[in-house]
Assembly symmetry: C2
Amino acid sequence: MILTVTLNTALDITYRVRSLRPHASHRVSEVTERPGGKGVNVARVLAALGHEVTVTGFTGGATGRVVRERLAAVPGVLDALVPVTGATRRTVAVVDERTGDTTQLNEPGPTITPSEWSAFQETYAALLPGVSAVALCGSLPPGVPVGAYAGLVRTARSHGVPVLLDTSGEPLRRGVAARPDIIKPNAEELAELTGSHDPLRATQDARRRGAAAVVASLGPQGLLAVTRDGRWQATPPAPARGNPTGAGDSAVAGLLSGLVEHLPWPTRLARAIALSAATVTAPAAGEFDRGAYEELLTRVTVAGEVSAA
Amino acid sequence: MILTVTLNTALDITYRVRSLRPHASHRVSEVTERPGGKGVNVARVLAALGHEVTVTGFTGGATGRVVRERLAAVPGVLDALVPVTGATRRTVAVVDERTGDTTQLNEPGPTITPSEWSAFQETYAALLPGVSAVALCGSLPPGVPVGAYAGLVRTARSHGVPVLLDTSGEPLRRGVAARPDIIKPNAEELAELTGSHDPLRATQDARRRGAAAVVASLGPQGLLAVTRDGRWQATPPAPARGNPTGAGDSAVAGLLSGLVEHLPWPTRLARAIALSAATVTAPAAGEFDRGAYEELLTRVTVAGEVSAA
């Protein structure tokens, strides 16, 4: 059982409109809804890869009820979300049919009370003994302390559970100091953390700050991983064209599944790249195309070197 | 008891963002939600004026539950909405904090099945014996026949209940032919109905098509009313500055309350103008400012002539 944590779950809504024009009124031609938040997306991909996954985090209000109803329909995903008084946030992606571009509107999320935060920490600690790995994903809702992920990393480590952290800003900075097993920043998050815009230098610096392995996602250049076993650059056969929503979450699912399957790093990275690219090219936002994934797996390039023992 | 019909109820969501830029990602700084759809807005204003109001129409899904919960908290408004399988639509108004402008995204609404439409017609007919006036408001959701309002006008007339129709396009064209007591088109709707862009000519033509009274809303020029009692032009003391959302619905509430109170037409028009302007200037979208309303009432100009008997 893998555990994913999404403190700021979401109801992800996608609108299609003919053409988005500020200050105009638009008739939405198509509405789709699905449970979201990074950890929820990671869980869905892990389940599709055949893993059993538990999702926890917060959920509340009418939007939270929809999130839970929809999650219950996903095979392989168990719901251990903690109820809160506030309403789960919505995210609205407005797709312009003419250009294919997406405009994103993200609600901030409900304010979490101190007692709700305590209830979550108890749930989390109670789940850890039964899990093989944990992913801590996404932004913090209002009310959750900025050091939240650092605490959750330490609790996982005290249970001997490997932990992947995928967040940004100050929660990432503090979380890294608590020594997670893997972090997966993008170039911007990495530069914010380290002050360096040189990917290799920044990745190495992030390891010195406490992360056992750093997997930097460099967009079309793929993934740069620096771990205690060595360092690798994994690149897709060609830049993927499509909707990048959820591509990073699919990469996290690839890394996490590879970790619990005890795969060597190059295989984990190839899986992460293939899942990520197969998510970009999938017709539905955030889903991955299984055929494309399996085909891409054979065509990812992984170059690197194993550390001297 | 006044009855308002909203076949396409909505959960109206307002987002405030720093500045709306297509293809960018936006953090929403403030989220507000309220039950919407024209008839619901009319009911809220009527209730604020001290009238008892029943709202009917369709409601469903998680969004519909929120609409009903919020409506239950409005004093003076009774909920006689008919449950449907599909989900009540959302409308999203994105307010740009820099310019004050609003970008509107309107979901189409749930598809109504033939049996749901029948259930509504039964509810409507059962409510009519207890009401003093009915307002039929807004667009038709998918699945409702385009002649729906024409049928609802006829049913109201057969019960001797005066009926105000506020819609547009083909539903308006057909509804007018069924001889409603009042229609309240704006200049664009009136031109679409009659083919004429001359307000007086178009208003007179709309009466010939079947409406006993036509109250054309001409934006800053106020209201032009042509009725069997005479014709009047009512104008606000100055153009109102602010958010025009709901101003037309407030005008409908003014006309309807004046009708059930048996007020003369000039008084009804003054009330409609004052409510409408006090809605534009109110800080919250769709609400009206009671102080501004009472002050404006004394300053509306109504010019016109009573028909020769």
